[in-house]
């Protein structure tokens, strides 16, 4: 009997011939990412009583969640992170001028297919877009990894999502993942790995695959992944990854006779734009069901949808148009690298001329820390990944989640409209 990609990977890392779902294995991950929470993790690490990281080369730190600091307390937090990074000799450190952690890891060549990546951030599965086993962990677990280098994992069952056909021109990967979450709900992939495959995935950009894997946590998954193809390798090589560093293809794909717990088949060609309605991500409806909902803020950015192609969609819609006078349109490129490209291509100019506000790379208002918190009674439509009550910093506001096209079209109209007619 064959194994899935995740079973193979955990078996290899646990130095076993095979593993089965439900089994607990001890694994040494290749990379452990932490962000603004690094100072808090340091305090936990100190309680263990170890002075130095066992493998400083496996630690990676990005300042992105509250960057740049907007209060003295946040500034103190960042200062402590910088001191710790210097003291421990952590070379993979990205200060506030680089971007969102998941984007930064990929852009800087840290993500290699077949490897195990963990991070004290729930959206760590984003890196699964490159055929990596990437999963979120807690702060204490990072502290323990710094001290020992190893951690326990439960071998997950795998859900296979086969997406047949092609997405229509005005339908995006975000619509696809929202549709899936709406179908199987917030716990539909609890503790599971999710394998994405099929014609629509083969045609999908790397950015789109990142959007899919990013949101697997919103259906409870441990990780999501797309096995690497030529498109993956080309992208990685452009970002400094040497193909010879990766394990052979035998380790990167699920076996023909692998056992999947469930197979979900989806026809991409009939999919319509989707929106996730307040206050849960799995409260998904077709955009057509909420057309006319007034909005006061639209937000395009985050680790889910702040990449170049997302910004390009917005710029194309905004060409020659103006943001509605009652709407604030906030745009945050996922990284400084994306920011520069969007600037060179004229996208940012188009957005600013239309009345949008382009902010510095980082997590921004996604989890309500700063820079775009909605007022009481206001509605924000966002390309982010969560719309829980209070998520954007105010429990008296409402958040809708949608694709960059739907968000931008709403910013122009002042209300949710069908993006198919706008693009």
């Amino acid at each position: 009997m064959g194994m899935t990609f995740v079973e193979k990977t955990l078996a290899r890392y646990a130095q076993k011939d095979r593993v089965v779902p439900g089994e607990i294995v001890i694994v040494e991950p290749d990379l452990y990412m932490s962000h603004d929470n690094t100072a808090a993790i340091r305090k936990i690490f100190e309680k263990i009583g170890v002075e130095k990281l066992k493998y400083p080369e496996r630690a990676l730190v990005v300042l992105d969640h509250c960057a740049p600091a907007m209060t003295a307390a946040y500034a103190q937090n960042h200062k402590e992170v910088r001191e710790f990074v210097a003291q421990q000799g952590i070379k993979s450190f990205y200060d506030i001028n680089v971007g969102i952690c998941h984007q930064v890891m990929a852009e800087n060549g840290h993500i290699v297919p077949g490897r195990v990546v963990v991070g004290s951030d729930s959206h760590t599965p984003t890196s699964g877009a490159f055929g990596t086993l990437a999963t979120g962990i807690g702060r204490t677990e990072v502290a323990a990894l710094w001290a020992t280098g190893s951690l326990w994992f439960r071998v997950p069952e795998t859900l296979k999502v086969v997406v047949h056909g092609k997405l229509q021109d005005y339908v995006y990967p975000k619509d696809l993942i929202l549709k899936i979450i709406g179908e199987i709900r917030a716990d539909g992939a609890l503790y599971r790995a999710v394998e994405f495959c099929g014609e629509a995935i083969e045609h999908m950009s790397i950015s789109g695959r990142m959007t899919l894997c990013n949101m697997t946590i919103e259906m409870g998954a441990k990780c999501g992944y797309v096995s690497p193809d030529e498109k993956t390798w080309k992208w990685l090589e452009e970002h400094g990854v040497n193909r010879s560093l990766a394990v052979s293809n035998d380790h990167l794909f699920s076996d023909e006779d692998a056992v999947f717990e469930r197979v979900l088949e989806i026809d991409a060609s009939t999919l319509e734009p989707q929106v996730s309605c307040p206050h849960t991500v799995d409260n998904v409806k077709p955009v057509s069901a909420v057309v006319g909902t007034k909005i006061q803020q639209a937000f395009l950015g985050t680790c889910t949808n702040g990449r170049l192609d997302d910004i390009a969609i917005a710029a194309k819609i905004l060409e020659g148009k103006k943001i509605h006078s009652a709407v604030r349109f906030l745009v945050i490129p996922a990284s400084q690298s994306v920011y520069l490209e969007a600037m060179d291509l004229g996208f940012l100019k188009t957005i600013i001329q239309a009345g949008g506000v382009v902010m510095n790379s980082g997590c921004g208002p996604c989890m309500g820390a700063y820079g775009g918190i909605p007022a009481n009674g206001e509605v924000c439509i966002s390309t982010a990944n969560r719309n829980f009550k209070g998520r954007m910093g105010n429990k008296e506001s409402e958040v809708y989640l949608a694709s960059p096209a739907t968000v931008t079209a709403a910013a122009v109209a002042g209300e949710i409209v069908s993006s198919g007619t706008q693009a």
């Binding site: 307390a73 729930s122 962990i137 807690g138 020992t148 326990w152 409870g220 989890m367 429990k395």
Partner: protein, 165 residues
């Protein structure tokens, strides 16, 4: 063995309502975290919670962010165990790593538990007493149990390093 009263909630209780994200990088002291526990879900929680109380949820308890404070704030508020039909994966790990016991019961069993019911949990025998009801819960895997019994991942790791030396 712990005993107290029940706080009962529904399905998909997420980490943003247990501990809002806006406090994530500025509230670092566990005693201060307690002040914001359940802030966006249940304003009475902080006012009435006592040592040994138990939280009961439906399916997918603790979904959302990886923030560990969503466990720490409950533990320092005095919560002795969290019972649910199922737990979100990272939340489950965070509970184990913080030494806060997690218990899974069946949906029909959860349905018979109500807010403010008197509860006692016997970890040794794997039973929960709520009013006249007695429920048994399945044991955790031995590896996970070792971490919980050590008082969490920090004490477990300390012991492991000490043993290796």
């Amino acid at each position: 063995m712990i005993s107290g009263k029940i706080f009962k909630y529904g399905d998909d209780v997420n980490t943003d309502v247990i501990f809002p994200g806006k406090y994530t990088y500025t509230v670092n002291d566990p005693e201060d975290m307690v002040k914001h526990a359940m802030e966006d879900l249940d304003e009475d929680f902080v006012k009435t919670v006592k040592e040994g109380d138990v939280i009961v949820g439906g399916k997918n308890f603790g979904c959302g962010s990886s923030r560990e404070q969503a466990v720490t704030c409950l533990k320092y508020a005095g919560i002795g165990a969290v019972i649910a039909v199922s737990f979100a994966r990272i939340y489950f790990r965070n509970c184990i790593n913080q030494g806060l016991p997690v218990i899974t019961l069946k949906p029909d069993e959860i349905a018979r538990i109500h807010r403010n019911d008197a509860v006692s949990v016997d970890f040794k025998h794997g039973t929960v007493h709520v009013g006249d009801h007695l429920f048994s819960f399945p044991p955790l895997s031995p590896e996970v149990m070792q971490i919980l019994q050590a008082g969490g991942l920090i004490d477990y790791t300390k012991a492991k390093i000490h043993h290796a030396n």
